[in-house]
């Protein structure tokens, strides 16, 4: 598996660290216990295309949002994660 970093180009997997599913969004302060429980513990654990966060620690140290198929490991899209990285890329 190789990931094409939008900043550094194609790099080998060992340069990256995995965070996990990009779908869960941290609930607002004051959210119900159910919402927090769902965010922290429950996962869709999709078999197929899924969107997830990777960190390019061995390169540009940007957070990336990668669309990857969990059945084949095929990567169909890599984009900067929301935040500073995305703003940088948009310039």
């Amino acid at each position: 598996m190789r990931i094409v970093c939008p900043f550094c180009g194609e790099r080998e997997l060992g340069e990256f660290t995995y965070l996990g599913d990009a779908k869960p969004v941290r609930p607002a302060a004051g959210a119900s216990e159910d919402e927090v429980f769902d965010y922290v513990y429950l996962r869709d654990n999709v078999a197929g295309d899924t969107s997830e966060y990777w960190y390019h620690g061995g390169g540009c140290r940007a957070w990336l949002k990668v669309t990857r198929n969990t059945l084949t490991h095929e990567i169909s899209a890599v984009e900067p994660a929301a935040g500073v990285g995305a703003r940088q890329a948009a310039r």
């Binding site: 598996m1 080998e12 997997l13 060992g14 660290t17 995995y18 996990g20 599913d21 429980f37 769902d38 922290v40 513990y41 429950l42 996962r43 869709d44 654990n45 999709v46 078999a47 899924t50 997830e52 990857r68 969990t70 059945l71 084949t72 490991h73």
Partner: protein, 417 residues
């Protein structure tokens, strides 16, 4: 078919041409009292304990492929009960005791070999942690010995004791731990369960649940037709989320890939099972002579049953740090299996919020050693509708109540357990 020295002699005289099949390959009936999804070690053990301990013999085990084709055939065959937290300690010892009598119970040679498991330590802090774990084990009636450097040197003189970064200082030994032949465990449970009337149905993929007006599960839809069931038990670790989703459930589980490795066969070298405490590397030697070893999971969600190079390199580096002499040994095979990584690193054996559906999941990469214990406590849950005393903490709602069993203290990050 009963195996004994006499059956072996009889078969030998006829040139081993008249062995009968050891279990029945059944076709599905319309209805069973209990249907178990998953024909791996845990599912088959559950069926056998239902039939032998709890008197429920109208049982089917449904397997998508062939029995033992999933993680039961992909593990590194280690058995041990050296856990430190309440909930795990007692459960894994229950399982260990069942390993010790399994072959007699099943009338099947599972090649259970209590050759000892040594966890090496490389620092004062790690020694203290292992001493604490050993004490926990001994307080609970489990054997544990803290070895000093001289004792480890005597037992395994070939280790790299002078590694400047991670010098071996000693180890925690459980003599009753060891290995078992994984395929024979599957076949043994199939053999004994089938003899008691359990139907083992292969090439039968569950495609959905049948629910009544109240939402209770009353059967399963399969690739071989609808099968009615009084109760349905899931023992499909690796695919738990996918099967549970058919019943509308989301689980505190992620599927990850774990790789395992076998070297070419060499003469007897490693006398036990040992783990490198400074990295993540564990190794034993099979009876065929291959070094069987593994390390960390790859770390990303996967259902692909294959891993990638960085972890392969990391595992082999761990082996080289521990015993540089294996550098000339060639790698023979490498494969991956899909692990049910739970949010606290411990399993789930419980009822689900769906009436009639029971869950056995979240084994992370420690499911093999749990096979007999998991079968017994899951059978207990299915038969009695209440948790077995040794599985009372493996609740599905512990993530909500906070009663986590987190041996590594990593929190809700499954790829770190």
């Amino acid at each position: 078919m009963k195996y004994s020295i006499f059956s072996l002699a009889r078969a030998a005289f006829s040139g081993h041409k008249n062995w009968q099949r050891t279990w029945r390959d059944a076709s599905p009936k319309d209805r069973y009292d209990v249907v178990i999804i998953g024909g791996g070690g845990h599912g088959l053990a559950t069926a056998w304990f239902l039939a032998s301990e709890y008197g429920i013999r109208n049982v089917a085990v449904l397997e998508k492929g062939w029995i033992g084709s999933g993680n039961a055939g992909r593990n590194t065959t280690i058995i041990r009960s050296n856990y430190g937290l309440p909930g795990n300690t007692g459960f894994y010892e229950l399982s260990m005791k069942l390993w010790e009598r399994m072959e007699q119970d099943l009338n099947y040679n599972a090649m259970v070999s209590q050759r000892g498991v040594v966890n090496l330590y490389h620092s004062d802090a790690q020694r203290d942690a292992y001493a604490r774990r050993g004490n926990t084990m001994r307080i609970n009636g489990i054997d544990a010995e803290l070895l000093d450097l001289a004792a480890v040197r005597k037992m395994m003189p070939f280790l790299n004791f002078d590694n400047a970064r991670f010098p071996v200082q000693g180890g925690l030994l459980q003599r009753r731990g060891g290995t078992a032949r994984h395929d024979a465990v599957v076949w043994g449970y199939a053999h004994a369960a089938s003899a008691l009337g359990v139907d083992i149905i292969q090439n039968c993929e569950v495609t959905g649940f049948v629910r009544d007006a109240n939402g209770k599960v009353t059967g399963v839809e399969t690739s071989r037709g609808r099968i009615g069931a009084g109760k349905v038990g899931m023992a499909v670790a690796g695919s738990s989320s996918r099967v549970a989703a058919m019943a509308g459930l989301r689980l505190p589980i992620e599927s990850h890939v774990l790789q395992a490795f076998v070297s070419e066969a060499i003469k007897p070298l490693i006398p036990n099972v040992m783990t490198f405490g400074a990295g993540h590397f564990y190794v034993s030697q099979s009876d065929k002579g291959g070094l069987v070893f593994g390390g960390d999971i790859d770390g990303y969600n996967s259902y692909a049953q294959r891993g990638n190079m960085p972890v392969m390199e990391d595992v082999c580096e761990g082996g080289m740090a521990l015993m540089p002499m294996i550098g000339r040994v060639r790698l023979l095979r490498q494969w991956g299996g899909i692990m049910d990584m739970s949010m606290d690193g411990s399993p789930i054996i419980d009822k689900t919020p769906v009436d009639g559906l029971y869950l056995n999941a979240g084994w992370c990469y420690g499911g093999f050693k749990a096979t007999p214990g998991s079968g017994l406590v899951f059978a207990h849950l299915l038969a009695r509708d209440e948790s077995h005393a040794e599985a009372a903490r493996f609740r599905l709602d512990r993530f909500r109540t906070g009663a986590m069993i987190d041996e590594k203290g990593q929190g809700a990050q499954p790829n770190l357990h």
